[in-house]
Symmetry: C2
């Protein structure tokens, strides 16, 4: 039994997977803020999983954790996990101590990329994939030759901070008009403010109902999501781009809308048409715990028990 933990801004989600990578037990807990609360939630969920599995935590084959922020996978240290109010934390070491077992730490988008690849590579084919996380922010995780490509300094896939509109809104990173500001949940929050728990669903419904402003906001959003996928294929030539994160909960209607944009572009560009972009996008199945499963499966150095 391998265990993966996805530490998110509001929830911590732990899964136990069997030899085929299928989740056999799952546990949820609230996360809270700061190092102590984050560690407590992770220990709590893994301990409850151990009870469900009928074995002590140190008997798990492996334990992996996905967390937002800058992760040094070799040391298990995480930094700049802003939403969790963590400046720096020896997450791997601290959890290893508490759980009696080595713990591998991975950036959450990278973990989700690896989970998505393991889930979908059989159906989609190829040994390369970009996972495009469309949440409040926008970032990609890259799988090449079937392995995570984390980059020279752990920063691969930060395409959310590529400026695409010189007149766009100021981004949290300090630049202007970053892809993240126009193709993520924050773009919807700015252009289509709503109290709905799933704002993008509400936006698509309003557009389907013929509301002009919603049609316009949706059109821009979809075009920018399509641009992000095009950028990933042109730069990396990954076989597939898989959408995940909050916006991907739209499922097929998102794919259809993005494919319409691709078709428009292909009509003007034989080159783009030759790339077959419509056949190279997919969406993560709703509710599949990709980051937790990926954290359980991903290889690499584990931090030693201190």
């Amino acid at each position: 039994v391998r265990v993966g933990v996805d530490i998110g801004g509001t929830k911590t989600h732990a899964v136990a997977i069997d030899g085929t990578g299928r989740p056999v037990h799952q546990v949820l807990a609230g996360t809270g803020s700061g190092a102590a609360a984050v560690l407590a939630a992770a220990v709590d969920t893994v301990t409850r999983l151990a009870e469900d599995c009928g074995m002590p935590t140190w008997q798990f084959e492996s334990i992996g954790v996905g967390i937002p922020g800058t992760v040094d996978v070799a040391s298990g240290r995480v930094a700049n996990a802003v939403n969790l109010k963590i400046d720096e934390l020896e997450l791997g070491g601290e959890l290893s101590l508490r759980l009696g077992s080595p713990v591998h730490v991975e950036n959450d988008v990278n973990a989700a990329a690896f989970g998505a690849f393991r889930l979908l590579s059989g159906t989609l084919g190829g040994d390369s994939m970009a996972y495009l996380n469309l949440g409040t922010g926008l970032a990609a995780g890259l799988v090449l030759h079937g392995e995570l490509w984390r980059g020279a300094r752990g920063g691969a896939g930060e395409i959310g901070h590529i400026p695409v509109d010189p007149n766009g809104p100021r981004c949290s990173c300090g630049q202007r008009g970053c892809l993240e500001t126009v193709a993520s949940g924050s773009a919807i929050a700015r252009e289509w403010p709503t109290g709905h728990p799933r704002p993008v669903q509400e936006l698509f419904q309003a557009a389907a109902a013929g509301k002009h402003r919603a049609i316009e906001v949706k059109r821009r959003l979809v075009r920018n999501v399509a641009s992000a996928a095009r950028l990933l294929v042109l730069t990396m030539d990954v076989e597939t781009v898989v959408f995940g994160g909050g916006i991907s909960s739209l499922g097929e209607p998102l794919l259809e809308a993005v494919r319409e944009v691709f078709a428009d572009w292909a009509a003007d560009s034989p080159f783009l048409a030759s790339l077959d972009l419509p056949g190279r996008v997919a969406v993560l199945p709703d509710e599949f715990p990709a980051a937790a499963v990926g954290a359980a499966l991903v290889g690499g150095t584990v931090s030693e028990v201190l």
Copy 2:
């Protein structure tokens, strides 16, 4: 002795390298158009190299060829080499027959990327690099974990066809405002027409002499080249971006101008500042035959003698 041949639009350049990767003999010939002329130029240069080396061509340790267009490295087939007027050619097989030795075929930008990596990785450090070819067109070659990443379908690094300006000029690919139209020799040809044999040198000289139009054209060009480098670092997190191609013949003045743009951006963005972009760009030494050396060195499947 390994041999590499760079088949360009006007010249074919062959080199023989020793065990350290240093060119020991070099031969140049005009290329001509069409399959027959291209094959003749390649055979001619390799045969002359063999004379220089005092051995028959079939005794070379390996022969590699870099050529523009879509290359299938497994079969040695090249397609869409537009400048050479070649629709499709079994380049590897045809050359193997004529030279009595297996011939590996590689896209010329990928070959140059590998040559640049082998030349510079010792000084620059890291096992990842993007080679950004700033010629008439714009494309990148990617080296990850010390190996070429060609992409799932051989199309990695086609960043020249990422649109960056919705109001920009129509690109040869059919899209509008592609990076290639604003950050390459074709941008200079459009915005600063000149009969000078090295237009970018003339542009920089005119800007240095205070000509307003030249200052403006140079400013835009350099900003767009800097954008291309930022895109490569944000997407791939390669350790270094190395500039090559005609524009890179500017050398240090190009690097200085690009670094100024990076510094401006970093002043507004702590995130960009943290990436240390100024320390991660380099320029290929002028006249270093990167594509020919890379073609000689690059691994991978060679097409068998027919």
